[in-house]
């Protein structure tokens, strides 16, 4: 290496701590390279735009025993306990819970990113699965049918308290904080309110990353994304074959590549997909989450939605009669024909009141006054309806951090977003 280059590198390295100190006082400008919200949602933060992270701590995974008296249907034998992960600090520190989004597992990508960021900032961290994840529904949900924000907050908060008791005794916990992404952020807002009213854990800071404002608006938008299949919904089979042949083409032509997500995305990106195709792919991903959730909730409640209520499904039984049906129904079908009928008797009000209750607007008064709750969102997030960003700005005021780009959760790896989060919690 030429000596000039060595000196140059040495200078850059020497300047790094200075830069770090500057970053504390001068906010980094928000820079995110993808201006297509669908692509941003799929790709996330591209490596070049990612702020560097210290090495990940060693996460441990444990499984929380199921609710007492909870019978596990044989087909769900694997979901008999609620897995969670944690990483602790060697010194006294506050404990942050991080809640995953729709269908998300405790160790999913966004959860891990947030856990890593806040562990590096000095927190003990615990990752929680979404109440819509089948494992949560089977082992921990008191109602067996997720989507009711107050019930789900109750289930989550109880699970969090039980997990806190099970953390190793060496963990010295000085306080509590909460973060969530997507649906998990909406859950976090309701947990914050419940916790405050019942004086349970006491959260010093609550961070909402890209929450759904109205669940019903978000699920309608997600369900509708499948209508973007090119040539209409009847051409789904052709759409699938085209995607497979795109991926397959790249796969068979290359000799040394593995079958990785990067390959899949590069195959997809090479074809310069149109917005409709991107939206269709996102819609499909959420549709699988919906199918998993719906079949699980149906099995736990014996509602008789897609499985005859008397039917017992054993470990050896084929699900070939349920999967195609589950995949053809969406979150909105679940809401109208399963979830609302389940609650119609006990809820005071009609179906639209019930839908409105599952939204941040329902707890707007609480959020307006809650100085410890902040929201982080993107102007072009695909799960929000018109006017919902304005609602967040109006409700959260200075505690609303709205970025121009990023789609759904795509910009969480950007340095400016992380700086805003850390500054809000005072780190």
């Amino acid at each position: 290496m030429p000596w000039l280059a060595r000196i140059g590198i040495a200078c850059v390295l020497a300047a790094l701590p200075v830069y770090g100190a500057l970053a504390d006082t001068q906010p980094t400008a928000f820079a995110y390279p993808i201006d297509n919200p669908f692509l941003a949602t799929i790709v996330g933060t591209p490596p070049a735009a990612k702020a560097p992270l210290p090495p990940a701590p060693r996460f441990r995974t444990r499984r929380l025993p199921r609710l007492p008296d909870r019978a596990i249907p044989p087909a769900f034998w694997y979901a008999d306990r609620l897995a969670y992960s944690y990483a602790l600090q060697p010194m006294p520190a506050p404990l942050m819970f991080v809640i995953a989004g729709t269908g998300g597992y405790h160790d999913g990508g966004t959860n891990r990113l947030l856990m890593q960021v806040f562990h590096a900032a000095g927190y003990h961290v615990v990752g929680m699965s979404s109440p819509t994840h089948p494992e949560f529904i089977v082992s921990t949900s008191t109602t067996g049918a997720p989507g009711h924000l107050e019930n789900d907050a109750r289930d989550l908060l109880s699970a969090m308290q039980r997990i806190r008791q099970r953390l190793p005794r060496r963990a010295q916990i000085t306080g509590h904080a909460l973060a969530g992404s997507s649906l998990g952020a909406t859950n976090a807002a309701f947990i914050a309110r419940l916790d405050a009213s019942e004086n349970r854990l006491g959260f010093d800071h609550v961070l909402l990353a890209n929450p759904s404002v109205s669940l019903y608006n978000s699920i309608s938008r997600l369900d509708r994304m499948l209508w973007n299949i090119p040539g209409g919904i009847d051409n789904f089979d052709r759409f699938f074959r085209r995607v497979v042949s795109q991926i397959g083409g790249i796969y068979t032509r290359s000799t040394s590549v593995e079958f990785t997500p990067e390959l899949v995305f590069s195959a997809f990106a090479a074809e310069q997909p149109r917005d409709e195709e991107l939206a269709a792919v996102i819609g499909v991903a959420f549709r699988i989450a919906a199918a998993n959730m719906i079949f699980t909730a149906d099995s736990m409640t014996n509602f008789g939605f897609i499985k005859p209520s008397q039917q017992r499904v054993t470990r050896r039984d084929s699900l070939r009669n349920y999967l195609p049906v589950a995949l053809r129904l969406g979150f909105t079908d679940y809401f109208h024909e399963f979830f609302w009928p389940l609650h119609a008797d006990s809820f005071e009000g009609d179906r639209s009141d019930f839908a409105r209750a599952q939204s941040l607007a329902h707890i707007a008064d609480y959020l307006r006054a809650a100085d410890h709750v902040a929201v982080f969102h993107a102007l072009d997030d695909i799960i929000l309806a018109d006017g919902e960003i304005e609602f967040l700005r109006e409700t959260f005021g200075e505690r609303a951090f709205i970025y121009p780009l990023g789609g759904h959760l795509g910009n969480l790896g950007v340095g400016a977003v992380r700086d805003d989060m850390l500054r809000f919690v005072g780190r």
Binding site: G103, E135, G248, T252, T255, I288, R316, V325, R328
Partner: protein, 262 residues
Amino acid sequence: MSAARYTYVLMLLAALAAGCASAPRDDSSMAVDFSPEATARSDDPLYNMRRVVLDDVTDPLAVDDPLEPFNRTIYRFNALLDRTVLMPTVRAYRRFVPRFLRSGVSNFFDNLDNLTITGNQILQARPKRALESAGRLLVNTTLGFGGVLDVADHAGLPDYEEDFGQTLGAWGVPAGPYLVLPLFGPSSVRDGLGSAVDSLALTQIDPLRLQDRANRRYLYYPLLVIDTRSETAFQYYQTGSPFEYELLRLLYLEKRDLDVVR
């Protein structure tokens, strides 16, 4: 994010295959009685195949699977084995064995595979690839200290994956019924037979003289299992999907079709 995205993509592909929502519902679905009395506790569920799936829709997920009850039993056995034995062992392995040693082990087994890969490429009448794989074996075994270093990779020699199942496929043998093998996981009757032939061939050649040295065997086979599991990203039931068996079955069969053509 890659681990999560991996599952995401797997599941995504599988659902793409389901041809979901390709069937418009019949008109009667417009007039649904929403009351709990009408929906719950009836013999028929609210939605079933008859109601939402048209007869003429081709559904890639509807794979013929005559061995399904057996397969599901083995699938569950594998998932339990993975949870209770394999993954705890892999975690300890990753914790106590430094990365450079682990990649050495991994390279070693990969290099050994070139024996059967070369053989299969000859059987598929692909002499150029067979030469490249044989070259890989030669370079890594000598310059790579018995295979622990992947020197051939730096020399630009491509790393092929070939097995006897693919050879059979290349000569037109169909995959046959889907088959879940104990420990090894998703396979087919053809590919299961292929794996047996490959490992039989390797024990016949016996390059490491395992036959007459028991202590080598006791090191070789456990290490092979641990390395293979450690190098596989898949985690059972990460998405919690009750349909994981179906989704994985489709993915396996689609990928093997591509492997044969490749």
